[in-house]
Symmetry: C2
DNA sequence: GGGTAGAAGTTGAGAGTTCAAGCAAGCCGG
DNA sequence: CCGGCTTGCTTGAACTCTCAACTTCTACCC
């Protein structure tokens, strides 16, 4: 029953070596624990999950404290749908407000409100502490640098579209 | 109103430096994209999210292809509640079965069924490919080693309980 | 101008996660 | 052997996320 290979994969799958498996398991464990830890910390202190907090931060850093929905979704690396739901919730909290885009009637801005800014101001120190304690305080400067490089590489590889991706004929 | 400091934090919050912020942002971006990518890959190919797949793998690697609920939850770094829901779903798929523990009537084993094993066997190659393409193929051997060490450190720091944690009087 | 493909954003249903509460069984001091 | 503490696991409700429509508007083409 092997006359016609069912998939395009060449032959034997390239399994992970034992060492690769250990690395991968460490990654899964750490990222699961870390996400959980930060979600809990922010949910408890600021009343929202980590990703929502990240949205407020992005807005706070943007000119006029506002961003088009699609831009915000891209910079947070989430789908527009997910963002739509998230902004709806943040709007209910009074931390974000929607505004129509004058130049494109389909467009919406998500705007950080004063209340939203205030929440951020109040809870940023606690969150920074949590990140420090979980990550930076435990790593040497070399490890921090290394982590940055590694994660940048991985993110680049997965980015749905990045500089030049709209020019596919250049490879 | 500052006679009694409300928290244990000394005074000024220690903000992240610009470089630390870049590292952290890279981490958030990469881990968000990667989780998403693997969830989608496994949902599409195997019909379950990444974490469920991980549960099946843990069971497959365990003696008798079975594990007590609490042990499985700990090794997957999730809460018992979450595991309970997850196993309920996997049971509906026929990939896992529950069995009573004879020595402790409160206890339950989660047992990987033959169907569950088969699903794993069929989809492991595709998943390994996805992990390779997203991570290992992009990193040098030194970076892989480094990633393993860094993630091990972070996981250690967040582990709710680890070797010696049941001896708190030793610090 | 009218047709149409694509982009921006939303929606609803179903699946997954969290949190607090709950039940049953084991553990133990008296 | 009984009362209370703890452990193992489950449950339901509220919340979040995904996926596939769907609406509205823009851009392009002729």
């Amino acid at each position: 029953m092997k006359t016609a290979p069912a998939s395009a994969r060449a032959d034997e799958p390239r399994w992970l070596t034992d060492e690769e498996q250990r690395v991968w398991r460490s990654y899964i464990d750490a990222s699961t624990l870390l996400e959980d830890h930060l979600d809990r910390q922010l949910q408890r202190d600021a009343g929202m999950p980590h990703i929502y907090y990240g949205l407020l931060v992005q807005l706070a850093e943007s000119p006029q404290r506002r961003l088009r929905m699609t831009e915000l979704a891209m910079s947070a690396k989430i789908t527009r749908s997910r963002l739509s739901h998230a902004v709806a919730r943040l709007e209910k909290n009074g931390w974000v407000r929607r505004e129509d885009c004058p130049s494109d009637k389909r467009g919406q801005f998500a705007v950080l409100t004063d209340d939203g800014y205030e929440v951020l101001r109040r809870h940023a120190p606690g969150h920074v502490d949590a990140v420090r304690q979980a990550v930076f305080d435990r790593l040497s400067p070399e490890q921090q640098k290394s982590l940055g490089e590694i994660m940048r590489i991985i993110a680049e590889g997965l980015q749905p579209s990045e500089a030049g991706a709209d020019l596919p004929w250049l490879r």
